[in-house]
């Protein structure tokens, strides 16, 4: 975060003195992080079919997005017509879903995505108080998938009584994401603005690694989380990485909106 702040300040200070205004702002808001809903729906569909006799209806344990709050800091310079900004954003989104069986037993699946991002955006004024333009972003994404069984007495377990239970993470804990998209910024006052951004996940240089989310805290159990539950249930030892949830499945379009408050003008 310190490095991002210094970068943002350096960018701002590097602008010639003729630039009319600039400032350092705090931001906070709402973030919607997209997942690969089509791929993840495979798990929901196969799980629902496998337990069709015990479930009331189809389940949605792995959603197509998560949402949560975000916060950060932005350095911005503007000459009235053009605007340039660099910043740091911390965002967290989480999902929590449960499949309930007829005897109050259940299967609970939660996902969590935590991003630490730096972004650059170049905006141009199109209307009074409104600027729009492209934005690029690099993020360090930490993805976690937690699967727990709920027993009839209500107790919840991530233990080894069911092999699918566990806490699954990306290899190395975090992955780099590169995104590009557009930003719109609406000035409410000279210090308070509302930024809205839509970003799309770019393909990774060299292609995806293909390493699935893995339960690294155990060494011979609960290795990966299945994408096709029926195929996994037929032979749990035969699951290959292509049939498992990969970090790429927990990445997609990002939408964020919030409020930006200038705390330091220069």
């Amino acid at each position: 975060m310190t490095r991002s702040l210094l970068l943002a300040l350096a960018v701002a200070l590097a602008v010639p003195a003729s630039a009319q205004s600039g400032g350092l702002a705090l931001t906070g808001g709402f973030t919607r992080l997209g997942y690969d809903g089509e791929a993840l729906d495979t798990f929901d569909r196969t799980f629902s079919e496998y337990y069709v006799q015990r479930l009331d209806g189809p389940v949605d344990l792995l959603p197509d997005h998560v949402q949560g709050l975000s916060g950060g800091v932005t350095a911005r310079v503007s000459d009235g017509q053009f605007e340039f900004a660099a910043g740091y954003v911390y965002a967290r989104g989480a999902s929590d879903a449960r499949a309930s069986f007829e005897n109050a037993e259940g299967f609970r699946v939660g996902t969590e995505a935590i991003d630490q991002s730096v972004f650059l955006e170049a905006l141009v004024a199109v209307l009074p108080r409104v600027t729009v333009g492209p934005v690029i972003r690099a993020s360090l994404r930490q993805s976690v998938l937690r699967a727990a069984w709920i027993h009839p007495d209500g107790s919840e377990s991530v233990g080894s009584e069911y092999r699918i239970n566990g806490i699954y993470r990306a290899s190395g804990g975090s992955r780099f994401l590169f995104e590009a998209g557009g930003a719109l910024r609406l000035a409410i006052t000279d210090r308070i603005t509302v930024p809205v951004r839509v970003l799309f996940d770019l393909p990774e240089p060299g292609g995806a690694l293909g390493i699935p989310l893995t339960d690294y805290d155990v060494q011979s159990l609960n290795d990966v989380f299945p994408l096709d539950f029926q195929r996994w249930a037929a032979d749990v030892a035969a699951l290959d990485t292509e049939a498992a949830v990969q970090p790429e499945h927990l990445e997609g379009m990002r939408i964020e909106a919030g409020i930006e408050v200038v705390v330091l003008k220069f």
Binding site: G28, S155, N222
Partner: protein
């Protein structure tokens, strides 16, 4: 100006709440907290299909030792080198060192599970109490008739 300051303070307070207080050293600290000799009490409960809980079997008490370095298995000195998040568990510390039964355990990075690492299969339980003087671990076994056995390990010292 006052409105800006108020919103800025709220944003700063919000940012602080976003960060996960768990650090990377927490897992190592959890394992270190387990080191030493404990009095282990085990008991079991049976959870029926409708959620009814009944005691199953009696209560057993014995000693248990957890250490980064132990002697067991033909006087072989074992040390979890470079594995600060793992420790040896000696299930019969009173036995002669060459005859002790030793295994490896770890605490997951969320501090939610105790994991006994096995050659072919791990046994993972839920950490219910994670104190320095008292620990409680719950291990579940699902039976073919739909009932569930919960084995409760209570460690005190």
């Amino acid at each position: 100006m006052r409105l800006s300051l108020l919103i800025a303070v709220l944003l700063l307070a919000g940012c602080d709440a976003f960060f996960d207080p768990e650090g990377s050293n927490d897992r190592q600290a959890s394992v270190e907290r387990l080191e030493g000799t404990w009095t282990l009490t085990t008991r079991s409960e049976r959870i029926a299909y409708d959620g009814t809980i009944t005691p199953a079997g009696g209560t057993e008490t014995r000693a248990l030792e957890v250490a980064q370095e132990v002697t067991c298995n033909r006087d072989q000195r074992l040390r979890a080198e470079g594995e600060e998040t793992r420790a040896y568990v000696v299930s019969d510390p009173a036995a002669p060192s060459a005859l002790r039964t030793c295994g490896l355990l770890t605490v997951d990075q969320d501090g939610k599970r105790i994991v006994f690492l096995g050659l072919n299969e791990d046994a993972a339980g839920n950490i219910v109490d994670d104190g320095g003087d008292r620990q409680e671990w719950h291990f579940y076994t699902v039976l073919t008739d739909g009932t569930t056995d919960r084995t409760i390990w209570t460690l005190t010292r």
